[in-house]
Amino acid sequence: MNVRLPGASIRVEGVTKRFGRVVAVDDVSFDVPAGKFVVLLGPSGSGKTTILRIVAGLETQTSGKIWLGDTDATTVAAHRRGVGYVFQRPSMFPHYTVRENIGWGLKLRRLPRVEIERRVAEMIELVHLDGLEDRYATELSGGQAQRVAIARALAPDPPILLLDEPLSSLDAKLRDQLKDVIAEVQQRTNKTMMMVTHDQREALSLADTVVVLDLGRIAQLGSPTEVYRRPSTPFVASFVGSTNLVRGSVTGVQPDGTLAIRVLGRDVDVPRQDGLAAGDSILLSLRPDDLEVIEERDRDQFPYVFEGRLLDSVFIGDMLRIEVDVNGETLRIHVTGRARFSLLQHHPEIVLIALGELVILPATATGQVPAEL
């Protein structure tokens, strides 16, 4: 089969999954356009793997529909859905070589031997497994075995590839390598990919769209930038990267829409944001990497400057992680750069913080402020 099928879209419609009384997935719906890379991101128990398995057909949903391309795949058995799946655990067949593993799906389809060999060679080149064709699982590293799993899933040329935390079982260095392989594969094959992970760095670097899940529900859906810079709930703000969640209130709305808010003991003006009125309580997300330690003389260069007292600092090599008390709130800040280090050395007691941007979580945001930020 020489024609490369374009990726197919995925639609998850109103999917709910109950295990006894536990609701693992609660009325989740989203669309994945063909050829896009979507990442389901969330902590364990958020339902992300369950959703993936439902899309694959390995799990039956309690209610809801799954569309693969134009087809309603809701009642189609897993082995007939024609999607590729990469498992979290090592799944390379132990009793077959790399070559035999990759060609397994093709042999099943009774393709001519020559075609199988050609396709297997293509896959081996795609995932850079050259030279290892005749090895067995026990003779490969974790990363290599996962690459076999990816190549094997792609060999029958499915329009969709599903990946269940493919990097979790690997150590840090192999993880980075495999991440690059996955990114490369997506670029070269242009397939629709849906990946599940709890690692926000993987999610942000690989995804076109990130679906953040919390306890079976979608907390936020958007591009990596959107999800990181404009989190819509406290959960998203604190799960995707770390943040300081700070309370404030709206003191007034000006005619041009600018909001006057009171936060951290000061009154500041912020650009317009819809849905807020005077008197509203708000929650702000201040990322440690968005906060800067500055010198007194640079104060005027920054729109939002606060004063605080240094509480604690931990040296982590490439950055200094400090805790600053600002008007009773403790803020975590990541300080990088030699200049800043010495600044703190000279003024350990009183620290000036500049904020690049104040991110106000939407007023409609649901969910409690997490106990630990």
Partner: protein, 270 residues
């Protein structure tokens, strides 16, 4: 929209489930059969009467075998504990040359066909120790051998999964190895010994081949007596009652051992 569908996988799984339950019932049925015959005082099916008479007419010869059976069970268990405890300790905690050979050797009696071995032992008795024929010791000896695998696996398994550090810590604090073993390790492996003992007791109390071959009328177990009565009197509800009682007592022990620790039990068989 409900998306319940009956998958091939689902049907297959259901069938296997049901089949397994049927097999289980089939295996339990013989016990029920004994019960039915015993409480109906009749061997006809379906049962026509109800009577507990068989339980009151168990017979002196049957009751006479009970002390022997119990004595056999208890002795076998104690002897095996005494034999296997030191051996298991050596096998699990001390590396020595010949450990693998010993591990294989323990299985030897397990694979020897029972009949043939009894004939060999009988011949050896006749030749060298004729007074053992029909004696308690004469029957005890092969029964111990037959149950060696069970006790050794139970104790060894228990030792293997227990942490040796505790015993070593005691030694470092000044206890002798024996003292440390007695006060630290022994309580640790007591559950394993208990499970092994239950199995060995159940097996040896109901031993058949050894007492049948090497015993005399006054030195047989209840199970052999049951067989003799069956041969003598045919299918008698009293005999069914006898079988049922022995089975219930013995299998309850095994079941208790099983419920005690399922994982340990599985480890015994693997």
């Amino acid at each position: 929209m409900w998306a319940r569908r009956i998958t091939v996988r689902g049907i297959g799984r259901r069938l296997i489930h049901i089949y397994s339950l049927i097999v289980a019932i089939l295996l339990v049925y013989p016990t029920i059969q004994l019960f039915i015959v015993a409480v109906s005082d009749d061997i006809v099916f379906p049962p026509r009467y109800f009577s507990l008479q068989p339980f009151f007419e168990l017979g002196a010869s049957f009751l006479g075998t009970i002390p022997f059976s119990v004595a056999l069970g208890v002795s076998t268990t104690l002897v095996l504990i005494a034999l296997c405890l030191p051996m298991a300790y050596a096998m699990e905690r001390i590396p020595f040359r010949g450990r693998n050979v010993m591990g294989v050797a323990i299985f030897l009696p397990f694979i020897l066909p029972g009949v043939g071995y009894m004939v060999a032992l009988g011949a050896a008795y006749i030749l060298l120790f004729p007074e053992l024929i029909g004696s308690f010791i004469g029957v005890l000896i092969p029964v111990v051998i037959g149950n060696l695998v069970w006790m050794s696996r139970a104790v060894q398994g228990s030792l293997a999964t227990s942490d040796a550090s505790y015993e070593d810590a005691a030694v470092m604090l000044g206890a002798s190895r024996l003292r440390a073993f007695r006060s630290i390790t022994l309580p640790q492996i007591a559950p394993g010994i208990a499970v092994g003992s239950m199995i060995v007791f159940a097996n040896s109390t109901t031993a058949f081949v050894a007492p049948y071959f090497l015993g005399r009328p006054d030195s047989v177990t209840a199970t052999v007596n049951i067989f003799n009565e069956l041969t003598l009197r045919g299918l008698d509800p009293r005999v069914a009652a006898q079988s049922l009682l022995v089975e219930l007592v013995v299998m309850s022990l095994v079941l208790i051992g099983y419920l005690f620790s399922r994982k340990r039990f599985r480890g015994l068989i693997i």
